[in-house]
């Protein structure tokens, strides 16, 4: 009885996360039914991941910036600028594709240092600095491209955006073996890690989630990974960009939840003065966050350019808004201090699936915009309502 009640209390505390998951699943089911099964067809799932990858990548960096209480409006322009630079480097400077990738990531870091300097050390609000960045980097893109498009790119470079891991089954097997292997491996690692940390918590006698909930959550996540594995394996296998994305999600989730740096980011966003008086080097943390955002935006720019096989002066237009929307749908607080990497990814997926599903259904772009706007508003309204009901400030 009391165990049951404490489970309920626990779930009430996790309402936001659960709600997000349920919303994602409800949307998937809705479109699966409405499109008579097209949504979860292997080819569509593969496309969905590939076509949303750069927004999801941006969301990973953006959620960290927003948790710290800042914002970055420049990422769309940085995507374009880095895309342009990659085109110039490869086609005009004849730098090998791998060298261009490394140099482009460095360009992203420099962009982040530039903006981070003004924000962290000069004290200009991030909104202004990155709004200025949005304009300047768009301008630099056009200068670099001389208002021309650059195309095509070498195949090795394009693989970053639209390539797949090699098919070990030689294209003859029903399920692609490498993908199946990776999926099973990921599932096993997830389960092992879950059990290991639960045991460690028990050893330290730390309060933990109820066992039933733990098992349910683990089973659900494993099931989801295996489902996606199955779908991908029955099409062309694992998109390379999914591997990139997976590494980013796992890595940055760990950084945000377990590293000293991640803790300082949350502390900074939750109460900047209190963090500073506790010895957190608030300026340095802010600076590093923007450097990180620059590198991530550069990565997104490379992926996007590779996917389109085109460096375009208009590339990345509005990406910053999609990334920001993903973060807020994913439960981050506008005032900072709250948010998770996984939340932002789920938020990004919700937007992606809405786009994809509505396109399949032939919903016009005007209604797509309308519906996405209402979803964003609704998600944040739900947050605000919850917070008020629980009596928080």
């Amino acid at each position: 009885m009391s165990a049951f009640r404490s489970s309920l209390d626990y779930l009430a505390g996790q309402l936001r996360q659960i709600g997000l998951f349920i919303a994602l699943i409800a949307i998937i089911i809705f479109f699966q039914v409405a499109t008579s099964g097209i949504t979860l067809k292997p080819i569509n799932v593969s496309n969905l991941i590939v076509q949303n990858s750069y927004i999801l990548i941006l969301a990973v960096g953006m959620v960290m910036v927003i948790i710290a209480g800042h914002i970055d409006l420049s990422v769309g322009s940085v995507v374009a600028f880095v895309g342009a630079m990659s085109g110039v480097m490869i086609t005009q400077w004849h730098i090998p594709w791998w060298g261009a990738i490394i140099l482009c990531l460095i360009v992203g870091a420099l962009v982040g240092m530039w903006q981070g300097f003004w924000i962290a050390y000069f004290g200009i609000p991030a909104f202004i600095v990155t709004l200025a960045g949005m304009l300047t980097f768009r301008g630099l893109t056009q200068i670099a491209l001389q208002n021309q498009q650059i195309s095509p790119f070498p195949d090795e470079f394009r693989a970053l955006g639209s390539g797949f891991l090699p098919d070990l089954g030689g294209g003859t097997s029903l399920l692609e073996p490498l993908t199946v292997g990776l999926g099973v491996l990921a599932t096993l690692l997830l389960v092992a890690q879950g059990i290991r940390s639960r045991l460690a918590r028990q050893k330290y006698d730390v309060e933990d989630e109820p066992l039933a909930w733990f098992v349910l959550k683990l089973a659900f996540t494993s099931g989801l990974i295996l489902l996606i594995t199955f779908l991908l394996a029955s099409y062309r296998g694992t998109p390379i960009v999914l591997v990139v994305l997976g590494v980013l999600i796992v890595g940055y989730s760990a950084v945000m939840s377990r590293s000293v740096f991640g803790r300082h980011v949350y502390a900074l966003g939750g109460n900047r003065q209190a963090a500073a008086l506790s010895g957190v080097k608030t300026k340095r943390v802010t600076f590093l966050l923007f450097v990180n955002m620059g590198v991530i935006a550069a990565l997104a720019g490379l992926v996007f350019t590779a996917q389109l096989n085109l460096a375009n002066p208009k590339a990345g237009d509005g990406f910053e808004l999609d990334a920001i929307a993903a973060v807020f749908i994913g439960g981050a607080a506008v005032t900072g201090g709250i948010g998770t990497v996984t939340g932002a990814i789920i938020g990004g997926l919700i937007i992606g699936i809405l786009n994809n599903g509505m396109s399949i259904l032939g919903v016009g772009t005007e209604f797509q915009q309308l519906i996405k706007g209402l979803v964003l508003l609704g998600a944040v309204a739900f947050d605000v309502y919850n917070k008020r009901r629980s009596g928080g400030r």
Binding site: V206, A267, G270, A275, S278, G279, R393
Partner: protein
């Protein structure tokens, strides 16, 4: 028959866990200047907030009679409509608007919904003349000094046909000349039939202008003194303000005092915005291991500024002076440097500077010393939880578990979380700024116990407070601070509340 303009009878106001006012009565005679005295936290401001409708009728018990009519203000607008205007310590002016715009803010002089600028500026000029201000009404408020801003506030009150003017610490931020001018003005307004209530710590000012003084202590009216009929000295008022028994509200403790661990020499700090205003003036303080040292100072005396500037230059500009740790000169110009030299500072303002209110207990406790729980930059969350649980128990923090969000805890428990954070950083010297502000008596006793425990561990503890009984109850030695200057350094055995209060309210240049 009564000539009283205002009578407040049996006012009782409770906040969760604290009885701020208990059966307080106040009678103010028409056309007089009535002073209200009391220590910080005695309930003066609360009483004025009840009177002016900041705390709406119904949120307190008791009766307010203004001009022979019982009133029940639901908001500050209603009290202003009846002619009661309060001027708060923090001025409520909009800096980038003109003097005239500020005077008529919320009460714009209009014609068919459009502002009548000629009338606004003309009327404002007349009001400014009444308060003795010669500035042009179109001057921006940010361009005039604090003293003149105070006068603008009074002009604004006059524009509202004020009958009873309440001034909360009106001269706290003013220099001598401006203070004198302001006091003259209040007297002058009295001549025009305006009644004033003035809250002040500066007893010489009260002596100079007040007709009557009501003393409030611990949320109760102690006495009302007539300044004309009785021969009232400053000492007499101080006695009323502090005179309470120091019974067993403080745990017994005898300190084992060792070597000096911290010395601050010739510490001078300027205001971060106004670089010509000295906030701390050549302060010298030291603390020994195992010693509990008090700093007694009123609000605005520079006590917090002293502490925060020593702790990583967290306040102020043009900071000069030396900090010695165990006799060695050290630099404490960043918070992390101060922490690594074994300093800790627990703020007087938990909500803004002490805690991340949207985060849980565990993560608040670990923040200042996260490196102790980390290896290669990765935090061991399990050890962190163990640490936090340890503090939950040893500090008797009342919360369901270490995952509880600190914003939802009571003031006393929040304070214990702040103390836990600094205890976990294992400092040698703790500076506790108003450690018992806003918490109830029971929790206060526990905090005193914690302070004693820290001293017994050989740490030096500096307690900043304006509650004299508290300092007399727990400290081994007490400094007084007035207008940024250390004015006394006395062992507890020689200290009395009267002596401390006299040194805390000491005017500048009286001694030196």
């Amino acid at each position: 028959m009564t000539t009283n303009i205002l009578e407040m009878r049996g006012i009782t106001k409770t906040f969760p866990g604290v009885k701020a006012l208990q059966d307080v009565s106040l009678a103010v005679e028409r056309g007089q200047i009535h002073a209200i005295c009391g220590e910080n936290g005695a309930g003066k401001s609360t009483l004025m907030k009840v009177l002016s409708g900041v705390y709406a009728h119904g949120s307190y018990d008791g009766e307010i009679v203004f001009e022979n009519e019982t009133v029940a203000f639901k908001s500050i607008n209603e009290s202003e409509a009846t002619g009661i205007v309060i001027i708060h310590q923090e001025l409520a002016l909009s800096p980038y608007l003109s003097i005239a715009e500020n005077i008529y803010l919320g009460n714009e002089q209009q014609k068919n919904g459009w502002i009548d600028w000629n009338k606004t500026n003309r009327e404002a000029a007349i009001l400014l003349a009444r308060v003795g201000l010669k500035d042009n009404p179109i001057t921006k408020v940010t361009d005039i000094g604090v003293g003149k801003q105070q006068l603008v506030e009074i002009a604004k009150a006059l524009s509202k046909q004020v009958k009873l003017l309440i001034l909360d610490e009106p001269t706290a931020a003013l220099n001598d000349e401006d203070s004198a001018h302001l006091l003259d003005l209040i007297k002058h307004l009295k001549g025009q039939g305006i009644t004033s209530i003035i809250i002040s710590h500066k007893l010489n000012e009260i002596k100079a202008i007040a007709d009557k003084v009501t003393i409030i202590r611990d949320g109760k009216t102690i006495e009302t003194l007539n300044m004309h009929t009785d021969e009232i000295s400053e000492e007499r008022i101080i006695k009323g303000m502090v005179g309470r028994d120091l019974g067993s509200r403080y745990p017994d403790h005898s300190s084992q005092i060792g070597e000096e661990i911290l010395r601050v020499e010739d510490w001078t700090v300027y205001h971060p915005m106004h670089h010509d205003r000295m906030v701390v003036k050549g302060a010298n303080i030291h603390v020994k291991s195992g010693e509990i040292v008090g700093i007694a100072g009123l609000m605005g005396s520079g006590r917090t500024e002293l502490a925060m500037s020593v702790f990583g230059h967290s306040y102020g500009a043009k900071i000069s002076g030396k900090v010695f740790k165990n006799g060695v000169l050290v630099k404490t110009d960043t918070v992390s440097a101060a922490i690594s030299h074994g300093l800790a500072y627990a703020t007087e303002d938990r909500k803004h500077y002490g805690l991340n209110l949207i985060e849980n207990i565990q993560r608040n406790v670990s923040l200042a010393a996260l490196y102790k729980l980390a290896r290669n930059g990765w935090v061991d969350a399990n050890r962190e939880a163990t640490v936090a649980k340890g503090f939950l128990k040893s500090m008797n923090i009342k919360a369901p578990n270490v995952e509880a969000i600190t914003g939802k805890l009571s003031g006393g428990n929040q304070q214990k979380v702040v103390l836990s954070k600094w205890m976990f950083s294992d400092p040698d010297v703790l500076i506790l700024d108003e450690p018992t502000r806003g918490i109830d008596v029971g929790a206060k006793y526990e905090i005193y116990g914690i302070i004693n425990r820290l001293a017994d561990e050989g740490k030096g503890v500096i307690v900043i407070s304006s509650e004299l009984p508290e300092l007399l109850g727990i400290c081994d030695r007490i400094y007084t601070l007035a207008e940024g200057r250390i004015t006394a350094d006395v062992p507890r055995s020689e200290a009395t509340a009267e002596f401390l209060m006299q040194r805390m309210t000491q005017e500048r240049d009286k001694e030196s």
